[in-house]
Amino acid sequence: MTGVLLRARQVTRRFGTFTAVDNVSMHVQPGEVVGLLGANGAGKTTLIRMLLGLLPVTSGGVELLGGPPDREHRCRLGYVPQGLGLYGDLTVRENLSFSAGAYGSAEPELPPALAGRADVLVRELPLGAQRQVAFLAALAHSPEVLVLDEPTSGVDALARAALWDTIRGQAEHGAGVLVTTHYMQEAQQCDRLLLMSNGQLVAQGSEADIIGATTAVAVRTGDWAQAFAALNAAGAPVMLAGRAIRVANANPGELQDVLKAAGIQAILQPVPATIEERMLVLAREAGSS
């Protein structure tokens, strides 16, 4: 027993000449929620599919629950893919029976929100309800490790909060959780973060470790839309947090010149950078290389 639930050792995956995952090493331990971050196309889903044995590695090694990612070890895993992995032409009850049968576990009780829908075909349910069914199916056999690929994409704020209750609850009961997300507020609910860019693991650890040496400047002005347009036209790496304008790795003097030239008065203030800003800097580095 290593105590490590998921492990990748120097894993690489190529598709033709394209390297989707490039020499990545990572692990997930019991009781922790690990957030896997990165732009669309960074290699997150390819890495997950290799960790679960759904896609062979080109080189390197993966371990699921201390062994190879085969059927025997996958029985102790709960996985909710981006596409949810349900059968649209089966009812809610039939999907859960099928999944319970495959894992050799008892069928889960339906929560109140699904109680009246046991005999509804899954494809006729709204996406939020389908997601609940996928979670139920993935959790019914009390998995030791849970892998969730964008579990809250397209879900409303209230349902998102409820799904995170479930995720944290699983970790408190000792499961290890690997979760991908594009919501930075969700990233902050993880115990540890991994950031991928262009197939490589470029940073890991706390939020501060991910942000690294990235800096940011907040631009305070009367007309945010006008200032955003002017800075954007000048090619500055502009981000928006609500209506607050922020610029990553910027020189405040140069920004002030751009704004003055556009006739905009603004107060510039150095602020702590965010994970989004680190991602923006990475995207621009990738674009210019």
């Binding site: 960074a42 939020g128 995170w164 944290r168 947090a241 989004e276």
Partner: protein, 273 residues
């Protein structure tokens, strides 16, 4: 020019998808519709596009050739390249020759898709595919631009690109109506509409919505009333609609996410009681 749906009601069988909804979309601004899956966002958008007929109420929208629409699903053809996708749609609107070449070049540049011009749509990342769909919806310079969840599942960097494209369309005079599940995007819109279960929970500018929010939100490790509480990061928040919170509770200034959740809970708890 202001486009609108007024007193719109739509039923699908027994389901009331829209219940007396009035939304205006003025030229030159971005209006954001927020709400979860099944709230009625797509139905509202499709009513304006003319894909859903109202049971009652009125729709004011331009004819199809002056309307741009990015549906929630894909919006491009997987087996065509980026350029072929744009040219195909442009051809339907009668754009051709030098005019098409110039327009395509401009839009590819603004969407940072120029390096991917000859790539098949099937080989684009999710963010690039949404940007292509956006470009295709806007190629004919529509007066009303309707975007159904352009940013769902899209990374934060591409989301900013999409926002920039939408705000540029509004700045050049289009009326833009977009749905989103990201509340920070809705904060930026000139006007936001919160839908829940086919009804409007609240609408107005972000400042109006904030100013009109009644009650107090507290932050706590142990909520007093579970049915009024939700997780926010590692702590819980709790809504006190009328009666004040217990003495000593930590109150927080609610942001749009808190306000939307609090109003949704208030409606659900009222329905249940």
């Amino acid at each position: 020019m202001t486009y609108s749906v007024r007193s719109a009601t739509v039923r699908f069988g027994h389901v009331l998808a829209l219940d007396d909804v009035t939304v205006e979309v003025p030229a030159g601004s971005v209006v954001a519709v927020v709400g979860g899956d099944g709230a009625g966002k797509s139905t509202l958008l499709r009513a304006l596009v003319g894909e859903v007929a109202l049971d009652s109420g009125t729709v004011e929208a331009p004819p199809k050739q002056r309307l741009g629409y990015l549906p929630a699903s894909s919006g491009s053809w997987a087996a065509l390249t980026v350029t072929q996708n744009i040219d195909f749609v442009a051809g339907i609107y009668g754009l051709a020759g030098d005019e098409l070449t110039a327009r395509r070049r401009e839009l590819l540049d603004r969407a940072s898709l120029t390096p991917a011009a000859d790539r098949l749509a099937a080989q684009l990342s999710g963010g690039m595919r949404r940007k292509l769909g956006f470009v295709m919806a806007i190629v004919h310079r529509p007066e009303l631009l309707i975007l159904d969840e352009p940013s769902t599942g899209i990374d934060p960097v591409s989301r900013i690109d999409l926002w920039r494209l939408a705000s540029e369309a509004a700045a050049s005079g289009a009326a833009v109506l977009m749905s989103t599940t990201y509340l920070d995007e809705a904060e930026r819109a000139a006007h936001l509409v919160v839908l829940d279960d086919g009804k409007i929970l609240v609408q107005g500018s972000y400042d109006q919505v904030r100013a009109g929010f009644a009650g107090v939100v507290t932050q706590t490790a142990e909520p007093v009333r579970a049915e009024w509480a939700w997780r926010r990061g590692r702590v819980q928040r709790e809504y006190w609609p009328s009666a004040g919170p217990p003495p000593g509770a930590t109150t927080v200034a609610p942001d749009l996410e808190d306000i939307v959740i609090a109003l949704s809970l208030a409606r659900r708890n009222a329905v249940l009681s």
